[in-house]
Symmetry: C2
């Protein structure tokens, strides 16, 4: 038996075990080729990747170390007696191998895979193998089964109202914080909209990050329910209510690998919405050269996949394609985006018109789901609720109900203006580069970091005029971001037509 030790190394979710090379009980090198071991403690087992340690201040010969996350998952305490054994790979890996070699998987096989992934029994390379094998080829039947399997693990919300609406954007567009405007409008109208959002994984801000500038977002399921009952809507972080643990694990590998396939995207989004208990869902697909979807043909194929799954699982789905040719609004990064959102909700004259208009379109489409409304009047109703201040009032009630942030966070104090290198017209803004730039500047980790855009597509600029401003809070980030912008501003300037 070895003594359990917590090793204060954060392995980003993967279970990692540490053993001394000269371990008194086992010989870790035997387990090294297969990389995984099974850790046994008080009737619980845990699969972990193995690292061998040659430093007894980290791991002594009579200790078994576990990374922070693995230690928490095993549920033991330091010094507890643990055994190890050669890991039997999860049986569901056989199904992954079938898929690699071209098989179509049955629903129960996908369920086992997803259940093992959610229980952290897959290593990162095994998760990558599953993702890549199904990125190559996946039937609509498999996509549907994957959606159902993912919605079955984790928590599930249920609501009493007959019509519970939700919206979701497939992402990729910087500054696109429409949810924070749509939710208060729709809630003000009276349709329940219990919105749970993600934090940024590789983007500079998720809705949860930006909302957190204004209010707490890490609510329990019960607290979330209370906010929705009181205010008609909420804007909370979905990760905290654990609606889709399998998706959280899959995304942690999918994003660094940079693979983003239609079927996996649909399964990911639809499974979360099933768990959230929505009845009517609006999907926003931005289309543009630097967006996730590049043309209307691809958007159409994606729309049909959403509609197919929606019909099969009994969730009403509307899909809209929107302009994804450039960032929405001006700010990119939590504080700057929150500023834009509040400017729109407060009807400030200089509020970004594109963010306002897109939010009204989406809110209008959601309000159309209200049977009491005359068909076609959703947009006008949304506009009325925005202009008469009801939406702002509802937003403030939601903020207070979730827990208003008392500190006001300013944009990052390290700033650099990126200048036009020539006079002309802005012909394109690269969404991918703007996201990466704001991320390098420190967003979302620093709420105040990001980019403030001074010009959008169609604007005329003079040589030397600032195109946008970088805000950062830390010197190292500021340096990374400035170097990236100097290499390529992300703006295309052309001649006037």
């Amino acid at each position: 038996m070895l003594k359990l030790k917590r090793v204060a190394i954060d392995t980003q979710g993967e279970n990692v075990a540490f053993m001394a090379r000269n371990c008194a009980v086992y010989r870790p090198e035997e387990f090294q080729a297969l990389k995984k071991i099974e850790v046994q403690h008080a009737g619980h087992t845990l699969l972990a990747s193995l690292m061998i340690v040659d430093d007894d201040s980290i791991i002594a010969v009579d200790q078994l170390g576990l990374s922070e996350q693995a230690f928490a998952r095993l549920g033991g305490k330091a010094g507890d007696a643990v055994c190890i054994a050669p890991a039997e790979p999860p049986k569901s890996l056989d199904y992954v191998r079938l898929k690699i070699h071209g098989s179509t998987l049955e629903a129960h096989q996908l369920e086992e895979i997803i259940s093992d992934i959610a229980a952290h029994r897959y290593s990162e390379m095994e998760i990558a193998a599953f993702l890549v094998s199904s990125a190559g080829f996946m039937t609509t039947g498999e996509m549907l089964a994957l959606t159902r399997a993912m919605s079955q693990v984790g928590n599930r919300l249920t609501w009493k109202a007959p019509c519970v609406v939700d919206k979701h954007c497939i992402g990729g567009i910087p500054g696109n914080r429409t949810s924070m405007i749509v939710v208060p409008i729709v809630a003000a109208h009276g349709l329940p909209i219990p919105k749970s959002s993600s934090r940024a994984i590789t983007s500079p801000a998720g809705t949860a990050d930006t909302m957190e500038v204004l209010a707490r977002v890490d609510l329990s399921m019960q607290a979330m329910r209370t906010v929705v009952e009181d205010c008609g809507g909420c804007l909370v972080w979905g990760g905290h209510v654990n609606l889709s643990p399998a998706d959280d694990v899959l995304i942690s590998v999918e994003r660094p690998l940079g693979i983003d396939t239609r079927e996996q995207m649909v399964a990911s989004i639809m499974s979360k919405k099933m768990s959230a208990g929505s009845t009517h869902l609006l999907i926003d697909i931005p289309v543009g050269a630097t967006a996730k979807v590049h043309n209307n043909g691809d958007a159409m194929r994606l729309r049909k996949l959403f509609e197919y799954v929606g019909r099969e699982v009994g969730l009403h789905v509307d899909v809209v394609t929107t302009d994804g040719s450039q960032p929405i609004g001006r700010g990119i990064g939590p504080v700057l985006e929150a500023r834009d959102v509040m400017a729109v909700l407060s009807n400030q004259p200089d509020a970004p018109a594109d963010l306002r208009e897109k939010s009204l379109q989406l809110a209008g489409a959601l309000i159309e789901n209200d049977p009491a409304l005359v068909g076609g009047s959703g947009y006008a109703r949304a506009r009325q609720l925005l202009e008469n201040g009801e939406a702002l009032k509802t937003m403030n009630r939601i903020i207070d109900a979730q827990g208003r942030q008392t500190a006001t966070i300013a944009p990052g104090g390290l700033t650099k203006d990126i200048l036009a290198h020539r006079s002309g017209v802005v012909t394109a803004i690269d969404c991918f580069r703007m996201n990466r730039l704001a991320r390098l500047a420190g967003a979302p980790l620093d709420k105040g970091a990001g980019i403030d855009l001074f010009h959008k597509v169609g604007d005329r600029v003079s040589a030397g005029e600032p195109l946008y401003r970088i805000h950062a809070c830390f010197e190292s980030d500021f340096g990374f971001a400035a170097a990236y912008a100097d290499e390529n501003t992300g703006y295309c300037l052309g001649d006037e037509r």
Copy 2:
């Protein structure tokens, strides 16, 4: 700038960097989602996966730690100043993504992928993505380009002789140590056979592990050349002469994932043989229910792939299919296998007949490549060289030239006989289970660990009679192996026909 620190953690080849969460210069959490950072030191850069440390005895706020392998690769010393930057993913990952989405890759794209993999610029999950994407579908053209790309990285041997022979078995059969008999026979005949072999990755012994019981195998390229010039052949460890560094990295991920596709196998084997400078290659494909290849149809398809690549790269290839229905010889594990090999070479009457016969067949086929020999007399010549003691004499010269082991290693002292649970005839022995059992017993790490088979297919046994003996050197291994054998002996016993 941070101070470089060697962290004595063995990450099995992957570059891993460690930073304190409260690092004085950078904020590691920013880099966490993309998992990789670039480490810069004295004009060198290194890509590494990032782990965040909350224990300043492991990593202080002004330090950057690197795992043992990464530290060695960067080439700095403890305390050196290092910078980090967000990692730009290797450009070749774009080609992996193309492959994932169904493209056929160009030769130069595969070259870039292989060059980046050999230079340790891919993380394990990225290697898994490449392997799985090409396991799903790979044209023969891609397989050929992959073979060439893999042979281009690493060292390359050249020989003056017009005919340099080599043999290779695709593996999977326990105890199948024919190379150690074939090499001395062929060398005694006078054909140069510079054999480099692998160590076991997930099997209980590679030829290099078993040869190491008798002689040193970690020879430099120059020492290997001298042995071949003096003795006509050698039996060295290929990993030490670095003939195929890309293959070494790929295999380290392929094996734990358990994916083993035809095209990758052919590219792996053929690239190594190209680098080894062979002109005539004999491939052994064992066929059997628990072998890697299950039937003659699959063996035929695999044969054609080997022949195609051989023709294109100018390497003469002969492929033989052999009986892979059960282990070859009696011993499984380095010491027990070396005992069998020496018994055959010494013409001991109780030497395993199947190992002797198979080795003679393979040696005969290789000798047929000698233009001076009358066609069809290779087998007789091989048998003559074995029976007249020339093969044994050559083996002893090779052992002395490589460096004879002075210590004699005994089989592991912890033993357990596994008994027949009924009387009957042995109808099958599971190669997969026998490999795993010998591995659990401690082979190849303990040279003396393994299994000694007392009965083979066709033998009659009585209930309670020992089928085989497990040898182990450590209590923990002995326990794992005994439990595995108790669960299922790996032997099928049936009624006499």
